[in-house]
């Protein structure tokens, strides 16, 4: 899976088009490829309990609607599917 800035824990979204890096303070796009300092942000698509079904939709725990790009930092059930 190719990671973009939008998948990084250091990305601060300003709006849907742009954000800044919390480390470098530089502006960046959510769709830019991640740099070497990137760390994955907890998202459904990285979660053990997420199952992708079709574009941008899936299931949580095999039963509940979910979507891959939702930030899961505050989800108590989040578990990494793969370690970094």
């Amino acid at each position: 899976m190719d990671l973009t800035c939008n998948d990084c824990i250091f990305y601060l979204p300003v709006d849907v088009f742009q954000g800044t890096c919390k480390i470098s303070k530089e502006k960046t796009s959510p769709d830019s490829p991640c740099c070497k300092d990137a760390e994955r942000l907890p998202k459904c698509k990285f979660c053990l309990h997420f199952m992708s079904e079709k574009d941008y939709l899936g299931k949580c725990m095999g039963k509940t609607l979910a979507y891959p790009d939702m930030v899961a930092s505050n989800c108590i059930d989040f578990e990494w599917a793969q370690k970094n």
């Binding site: 601060l12 979204p13 709006d15 919390k22 959510p30 574009d55 939709l57 979507y67 790009d69 939702m70």
Partner: protein, 889 residues
């Protein structure tokens, strides 16, 4: 005459120059606020699905639970999962969503407007007239609006950007609310109202702008920060626990569920605040700059503290009030949630910090500038007709200054002077400011307000304290309001007079009586009736000639006399108010059952005391529904023209007028010319046929010139309207009252209206506000306009609104300020309720229309709010340019 730049000591103002004149120079904001403002200018309005996803997920999990508990759990899930976003340099973190201008859809209110145009939900909504106003609204094409889809971003309602990866879940979540949302449930039952089909026709013709129950069910009210300040969140939870123990198992069991729901909701708010605290710690660990690192550490500690406890100082109190302001905005689609007299609420903390040396004036102003930036970032996710046609992208968070204390002395204070200073230095649209004018307010304070108005901020607006109190005592006296409590009032939204209460805030063993709102939304009910359109339909015996659709049954009056014409107008206006009151009552009933207010209810006295939310009349005052109108001057001028030219002097017949207005007096349409302003309209090939009747119509007496012929018609309208509104009952069994603001509705409503008998042409924008003259027709100076505007008793209406445009040269310098204050006083002393100003050279606005990129920071006053020029739709831009510009006062 020398220019202002070369004559700094010119105290008396001067004639306008040949070139565009700028406004008076002003101090700049702090570097911190400047950074925030530059980031704001770059940011686009952005929507996310995080909150609605978690809300819906939890809601579905709790099928069968007590509805108010289900709602509380859904809110808790939404708040607990919001991703925190803290922006560079911020001192007051927290936002609606994880974008600088973030917002989100609330499909539990309404789910059709943000679906694709070809979707059957959208088509059904269009058919019922709910979305007609959207199609006649022009959105601002610049600034932060995402007007078209591009790359991985989808444009919604011409304003909000949504990441493409969130689009499928938005559609999926929306579909889950089909037939369950407030909109759908309300629609199901409103169809049982006799005459419902008439209501749909009214909406399709845009005689009424929009329904209120599912669009903006809360707002146009004043928040109350008392409980969090006095008790802290843990303290409020304890109040809930005590009451739960008291009421469990006893009659009026709904109290039990209310207290439990508040408790659950507060747990969500606490989690939300603590997630921000964790993020601040995370940023502190990343931060290399020692000063900023310390700011993050202090921020984290502060957020942790206020997530449970009472505030310790001014900064804590400011953060806590901002947090609860946001929390309310996140529970419903809301415009016009006013912080009210927050400079008086926070004064005890500020005075203590100043005294102890913890704060100085510069630091205070910097914090207040940060507050301004946070309020300016607020967006409201709503349909194009609502967010563009009504709100113009603004959300009307009105901060009020002055007025009187509980004991009746001037309430103006030093912190409010700094709020004005922050408004001058950091001139942003929000919070807009209003001075509650009373003769007791000190001159220094008033001149500070004038200094702020003069630099072109459009704020403060000037509103009459005695007129507002009189209105409140007339309309809330039966609910127990006394003069002392009437003094606690404030403006909710752009200009809605709202009841308040004095609450005993304890600090250091002293009691400080602080004002705050004590009523729910004061502008719900019948939302904007187009007066010129009603007259048009009356002339055509109930038909909308633009669409060919019958709106009302034929009135069958021959219209042989002016009195018959007036009767026909009254009949259709009354029918519209009648059916819209009933259908909106049903929508609001659906709202209070499906999506009751919990956060706002908890804050409003006396909900927590009574164990009732605001939908169950838990508020101290509940007479808050109203009837709103648009296009007053065009109605009055049209009636005057018909009275003169048809009935009194007989130059023409009504049929002549019908034909002339259908032919648009021989002019091209506004859409053909590309301008919505009368002065830009161009004749067509039939101009000669209609030019005489158009000339007579344009030359008939016009409102705003102290002319008894037309002012008597205006007086008759006002007297009748303010009285008839009381004939209708709200959901809460209370009489409605008149409300007279246009916000931005005079644009789209003008767009669907034929030419009118006053000479206004088809599709052009109506006169703004309610006391404003039609652009260019007030020819006898401001004092003649004041005489016309005050020929009726303003305390009979929730508000009245007067916009004036003044050339910067007219108020230049120290003496210009004095003259300006004299002008304001003159109007308010005559009994006027409200006056506000654009101090701007119209040529600058025309230049900005041509070159918007060079005017990103230019602000103008529309009707009760200030907005960035580039974020206004063309209908409103053209109207503001066309307004009469006074070069002398």
């Amino acid at each position: 005459m020398s220019t202002p730049e070369t004559a700094p000591a010119n105290y008396y103002g001067h004639r306008p120059n040949d070139k565009i004149e700028t406004r008076e120079q002003k101090p700049q904001p702090s570097p911190r606020a400047q950074v925030a403002r530059e980031l704001y200018f770059e940011a686009k309005s952005s929507a996310s699905m995080e909150f609605p996803y978690w809300y819906t997920r939890r809601w579905e999990e709790l099928e069968g639970e007590i509805p108010i508990i289900r709602r509380a759990e859904a809110l808790k899930a939404g708040f607990s999962h919001l991703t925190p976003a803290i922006y560079p340099g911020e001192l007051l973190p927290m936002g609606k969503a994880a974008y600088l201008r973030g917002s989100y859809p609330m499909p539990w209110l309404s789910e059709s407007f943000f679906m694709a145009a070809e979707d059957k939900f959208y088509q059904e909504a269009l058919e019922s007239g709910k979305l007609t106003a959207d199609t006649f609204t022009t959105m601002g094409t610049g600034g932060g609006n995402v007007t078209r889809s591009i790359g991985n971003v989808i444009s919604i309602a011409g304003k909000f950007g949504l990441r493409v990866e969130e689009m499928p879940v938005m559609v999926e979540v929306a579909k889950r609310w089909k037939d369950k949302s407030v909109d759908d449930i309300g629609h199901k039952y409103e169809q049982l109202v006799p005459g419902y089909k008439e209501k749909e026709a009214i909406m399709r013709s845009v005689i009424c702008m929009f329904d209120s129950g599912y669009t903006l069910p809360q707002g146009r009210e004043v928040i109350n920060y008392y409980y969090p300040l006095q008790y802290g969140i843990e303290g409020i939870k304890q109040i809930c626990d005590d009451n739960i123990a008291e009421v469990a198992g006893k009659p009026e069991m709904d109290r039990l569920y209310f207290y439990q729901a508040v408790r659950i909701m507060l747990e969500g708010v606490q989690a939300w605040i603590r997630n921000y605290a964790t993020e601040a710690s995370f940023l502190a660990n990343l931060e290399k700059n020692a000063i900023r690192k310390q700011e993050y550490e202090e921020m984290s500690e502060r957020l942790h503290w206020i997530s449970s406890n009472r505030p310790r100082d001014f900064h804590d109190a400011l953060q806590l009030t901002w947090t609860f302001h946001l929390a309310v905005l996140n529970e419903d689609a809301i415009s016009g949630l006013s912080p009210g007299r927050v400079g008086q609420v926070l004064l005890p903390y500020w005075e203590r910090d100043i005294k102890s040396g913890k704060l100085d004036h510069d630091k205070s102003i910097e914090l207040l500038e940060c507050m301004r930036m946070k309020f300016t970032q607020i967006d409201c996710f709503a349909s194009m007709g609502v967010v563009g046609g009504v709100l113009s992208g603004n959300t009307f968070n009105n901060l009020c200054l002055g007025g009187l204390t509980k004991e009746g002395a001037s309430a103006a204070n030093d912190l409010e002077m700094l709020i004005l200073e922050a408004g001058i230095r950091c001139d942003t649209p929000q919070p807009t400011l209003s001075v509650l004018y009373d003769e007791k307010l000190p001159e220094e304070f008033l001149l500070k307000g004038v200094a702020c108005t003069k630099i072109g901020t459009g704020y403060p607006a000037w509103v009459s304290n005695p007129v507002a109190m009189e209105f409140l005592l007339k309309n809330y006296g039966h609910e127990g309001m006394m003069p002392e409590e009437a003094r606690a009032w404030s403006i909710g939204g752009c200009l809605e007079t709202s009841p308040g209460s004095w609450m005993p805030l304890e600090l250091d063993g002293q009691v400080h009586w602080i004002p705050g709102g004590s009523a729910p939304a004061t502008s719900v009910g019948v939302h904007f009736i187009s007066l010129p359109k009603i007259l048009e339909v009356a002339l055509f015996d109930g038909m909308d000639m633009r669409t060919g659709e019958r709106i009302f049954p034929p009135h069958r009056l021959p219209l042989n006399t002016y009195d018959e014409l007036w009767t026909a107008f009254q009949k259709y206006f009354s029918e519209a108010v009648h059916v819209l009151t009933l259908t909106n009552n049903i929508q609001h009933d659906a709202w209070r059952k499906i999506s009751p207010s919990l956060i706002n209810s908890m804050l409003k006295p006396d909900c927590l005391k009574l164990g009732k939310d605001i939908g169950q009349m838990g508020s101290r005052y509940n007479t808050t529904f109203n009837v709103e109108t648009t296009g007053t001057a065009n109605l009055v001028n049209s009636l005057a023209s018909l009275k003169l030219n048809v009935y009194d002097e007989g130059h023409y017949t009504l049929d002549d007028y019908r034909q002339a207005t259908l032919a648009n007096f021989g002019y091209k349409t506004a859409n053909e010319t590309g301008s919505f302003s009368l002065i830009d309209q161009l004749p067509n090939a039939h101009y000669d046929t209609w030019k005489k009747i158009h000339k007579r119509s344009s030359e008939a007496p016009k409102y705003g010139n102290d002319h008894p012929y037309v002012d008597s018609i205006f007086h008759e309208w006002e007297t009748w309207f303010c009285s008839m509104a009381h004939n209708y009952q709200s959901l809460y069994g209370q009489p409605l009252y008149a409300c007279q603001i246009s916000v931005s509705t005079h644009g789209p409503m003008g767009a669907v209206t034929l030419a009118s008998a006053d000479g206004r042409l088809a599709g052009t924008t109506f006169s703004d506000a309610s006391m404003s003259a039609y652009p260019g027709t007030d020819k006898n100076g401001p004092y003649a306009l004041f005489n016309s505007a005050t020929c009726w008793d303003h305390s009979e209406s929730q508000n009245s609104q007067l916009n004036m445009k003044i050339h910067p040269s007219a108020v230049w310098g120290r003496e210009g300020s004095r003259k300006f204050l004299d002008l304001i006083r003159a109007y308010l002393r005559k009994g006027g309720f409200h006056i506000q100003f654009n101090v701007v050279d119209s040529r600058m606005l025309k230049e900005a229309q041509k070159n918007p990129d060079q005017y990103r920071g230019l602000m103008v006053r529309v009707a009760g709010f200030t907005q960035y020029w580039v974020e206004l739709g063309k209908q409103i831009q053209d109207e503001v340019i066309a307004r009469t510009e006074y070069e002398e006062i």
